[in-house]
């Protein structure tokens, strides 16, 4: 059984479930990047925010555009494919789990500059499905984790 603990943090007025991942690009020349992904089962896809993509320090124009675009909180974004990455997470024992991904996309906003800074990176439904993860949330006890039987 593999179990990956998730963080539940109190943002004023609400709670946020997230997981920290070291994203290591394999097929493009970019440095490994630490990202906090907000877990959002309402999102069909896993997305790297524009802010986090800027930290990758690669020209988005060199990546392939993916359809369709996405709308997040009334803001529209184009998506660009970041092919062949290793997603490194910690399991409950603190050991590193490496998950290969070929479908991670990077967001580029089409909205105004002042609106774009608040969108986080998102771990979506596709990640759970393609890796056979169950998402467990115990809301009263503020505990959440991903698990799968190997």
């Amino acid at each position: 059984m593999m179990k990956i603990p998730l963080k539940i943090n109190l943002v004023p007025e609400h709670y946020r479930i997230s997981v920290n991942i070291n994203v290591i690009p394999r097929s493009i020349h970019a440095r490994p990047l630490l990202i906090e992904f907000v877990v959002d089962t309402g999102s069909p896809c896993t997305l790297i925010s524009f802010n986090d993509a800027k930290r990758l320090n690669i020209p988005i124009s060199k990546l392939s555009k993916v359809n369709p675009n996405v709308s997040l909180g009334s803001r529209k974004f184009e998506r660009y494919l970041l092919p062949d990455v290793d997603l490194c997470l910690k399991d409950e024992k603190g050991d590193i789990i490496k998950i290969k991904s070929k479908s991670l996309t990077v967001l580029k906003p089409t909205t105004s500059l002042t609106q774009r800074s608040m969108t986080p990176s998102i771990l979506g439904w596709d990640f759970l499905l393609s890796n056979n993860f169950r998402l467990v949330l115990d809301a009263p006890n503020k505990e959440s984790y991903l698990e799968r039987v190997d």
Partner: protein, 84 residues
């Protein structure tokens, strides 16, 4: 590019997690001064605050810090819930 071993990855994730924990622990204080802005945290200290990611990253790089290891998050405005 040099390959990272599991121990390096774990160490970098641990440090990043500590800075994220610090951010959420101090988010109410951060809101008083920096609401609606991006805050960069490294080793439990705020190392940069800007509205735009490009200028924030430029400031951090000027200090000789690798931005890929820096925890950066948006400080929400008071009395506002963000639904993505």
């Amino acid at each position: 590019m040099k390959q990272m071993c599991d121990e390096e990855i774990k160490r970098s994730l641990d440090k990043f997690e500590e800075d994220g924990d610090w951010f959420y622990k101090h988010i109410a204080d951060l809101q008083k001064e920096h609401e609606g802005k991006l805050v960069a945290v490294k080793d439990g200290k705020v190392i940069g605050v800007k509205k735009q990611i490009e200028t924030l990253l430029r400031d951090i790089e000027k200090k000789g810090i690798n931005v890929s290891n820096v925890y950066i998050n948006f400080v929400p405005e008071k009395n506002m819930i963000y639904i993505y």
